[in-house]
């Protein structure tokens, strides 16, 4: 389900502290999102590719992460150029392709691929637990952080429960078909799953209370920011900041 295989590698990126990686990915992706010039977007793309390379990810793995995005990009390429007003660069009958539309498509494609690469290199290379830790230390709202962690922790348990229920139904001769009986059975399964999940939530909460939980999460400091982490944050922030200035003041190299 949730694949964390990228997190269990060894590279310079993996050695960076979670907070450093989260902050850097934020600045780089905001910088990318705010740019419109292709030369600057090209630079961001190079930076993101360099990060992927440093994280020693294989093309195969990166491609796996990019694939879902490409469907979205293809949809944009089909619809945007046709529906955009402006200078027409190609026409066939009533089908008109505008220059502005194509330019926007290229911009969106480049931006989304770049941002995804940044996140693949810096964030997908952490386990969910590590991301949660990083967010927690960055004073991200506590409830949201622990919602993330708990969801991740119990999604497996709930999946197992679902499989158990389904197996029990199968043992009694249930074969899913497209008929009312099947739909009703799945509705019962879903309902049962919901009931079980809420009982589970109650028990988990009780277990937490038994161990002294009073509404505030405390965690161990597992990671420490070191010089390289600060250097990395500064470099990424500077890179995003300078490129943004170039864009804003129309500075060309």
């Amino acid at each position: 389900m949730l694949d964390e295989s990228l997190a269990y590698k060894v590279s310079a990126v993996h050695r960076l502290e979670p907070r450093a990686r989260i902050i850097a990915s934020m600045f780089l992706s905001f910088g990318t999102a705010l740019s419109h010039r292709f030369d600057i977007l090209g630079l961001y793309f190079i930076v993101s590719a360099a990060l992927v390379f440093t994280a020693s990810l294989s093309w195969h793995e990166v491609w796996g992460r990019l694939k879902p995005l490409l469907w979205f990009v293809v949809m944009i390429w089909i619809f945007l150029p046709l529906s955009f007003e402006g200078e027409i660069i190609w026409q066939y009958g009533w089908v008109k392709v505008s220059f502005a539309g194509v330019r926007l498509c290229m911009e969106i494609t480049l931006k989304s691929v770049t941002i995804l690469l940044v996140f693949t290199a810096l964030v997908a290379t952490m386990t969910v637990a590590t991301i949660g830790y990083g967010l927690h230390r960055l004073n991200f709202p506590e409830k949201l952080t622990f919602l993330l962690l708990m969801t991740y922790r119990y999604i497996y348990v709930i999946r197992d429960e679902y499989h158990r229920l389904l197996r029990a139904a199968r043992f009694r001769g249930f074969v899913p078909k497209t008929n009312l009986h099947s739909y009703r059975t799945f509705a019962y399964l879903a309902g049962m799953l919901f009931v079980r999940a809420s009982f589970r939530a109650q028990r988990v909460y009780r277990a937490m209370v038994c161990r002294g939980f009073r509404g505030r999460f405390r965690t161990l400091d597992v990671y420490r920011l070191n010089g390289i982490d600060y250097l990395f944050i500064i470099l990424c922030t500077l890179c995003a900041g300078i490129l943004l200035l170039f864009e804003y003041y129309r500075i060309f190299l």
């Binding site: 386990t127 969910v128 637990a129 590590t130 949660g132 830790y133 962690l149 708990m150 922790r153 119990y154 497996y156 348990v157 589970r200 028990r203 988990v204 009780r206 277990a207 937490m208 209370v209 038994c210 161990r211 002294g212 939980f213 009073r214 405390r218 965690t219 161990l220 400091d221 597992v222």
Partner: protein, 242 residues
């Protein structure tokens, strides 16, 4: 002051789940004194888990009084202060292990007790070491085997240095090796405990008293003549009266 101070003392406890008129606990009395190790063997649905949850103040009884460590428990606040000194091991270890890694989970209790991060980490590491779990201290909890989860959950409870332990079916689903480990750990602990189990052999090895439950009441040693049968019997492997 009593000669042998009691850790848990329940008197005339009655409890029914909301919306039900069956008393799962019915005018129940129970004491667990310093150093006592009591086994509780009773059929499914007889209210054992409910009893433990009532002791911890997780379920509020309709009637009766609860005294923990010599103090009467009247309000939820009273329980809050005492609860961390009594370790409850839940029937399902998945309910108890919610932190990302083993170390995080074992340190969760000590951190809540107000230990500094350094102290909490040391206490957790010590407990992990004592239970022979050092090899998996950085493992992600949901990937552990059933036996490992059970031992980690026990470590999480023991890291709080409780004065008493309540174990809810600790051997359910464990293989012989882990059961053996568990027996050794429990026998090495010098604290009071009450253990729910369906396994007579296990209970026999780790406790010196065996109680049962029937109609929402505790049946103590004198009332229960516990034995195992070789012949087929309506009550199966559960202890029962003759």
């Amino acid at each position: 002051m009593n000669a042998t101070p009691c850790i848990i003392k329940l008197s005339h406890i009655s409890f029914a789940y909301p919306g039900s008129d069956v008393d799962v606990l019915n005018n129940l009395d129970l004491t667990l004194c310093q150093g006592e190790k009591i086994g509780l063997i009773a059929p499914n649905g007889s209210g054992k888990t409910t009893l433990f949850h009532t002791i911890m103040g997780l379920s509020q009884p309709r009637q009766g009084t609860i005294e923990l460590l010599g103090k009467p428990m009247r309000t939820p606040k009273d329980f809050e202060a005492i609860r961390t000194q009594i370790g409850l091991l839940f029937q399902d270890a998945d309910d108890q292990l919610f932190c990302p890694t083993v170390l995080d989970d074992v340190a969760f209790g000590p951190l809540n007790l107000g230990f500094s991060k350094e102290e909490a980490k040391n206490t957790a590491l010590e407990t992990i070491h004592e239970l022979g779990l050092s090899g998996i201290r950085d493992s992600v909890t949901h990937r552990l085997s059933g036996g490992q989860k059970r031992l980690v959950a026990l470590a999480a409870v023991l890291a709080m240095r409780p004065k008493a332990l309540l174990l809810d079916e600790p051997t359910a689903g464990l293989d012989m090796d882990v059961k053996e480990t568990l027996i050794n750990i429990l026998n090495s602990l010098d604290i009071s405990m009450m253990i729910i189990s369906h396994e007579f052999d296990f209970i026999h090895e780790v406790t010196h008293k065996i109680y049962s439950m029937e109609n929402g009441k505790i049946l103590t040693d004198e009332e229960v003549h516990v034995h195992q049968h070789e012949h087929v019997h309506r009550h199966g492997r559960h202890p029962h009266k003759h």
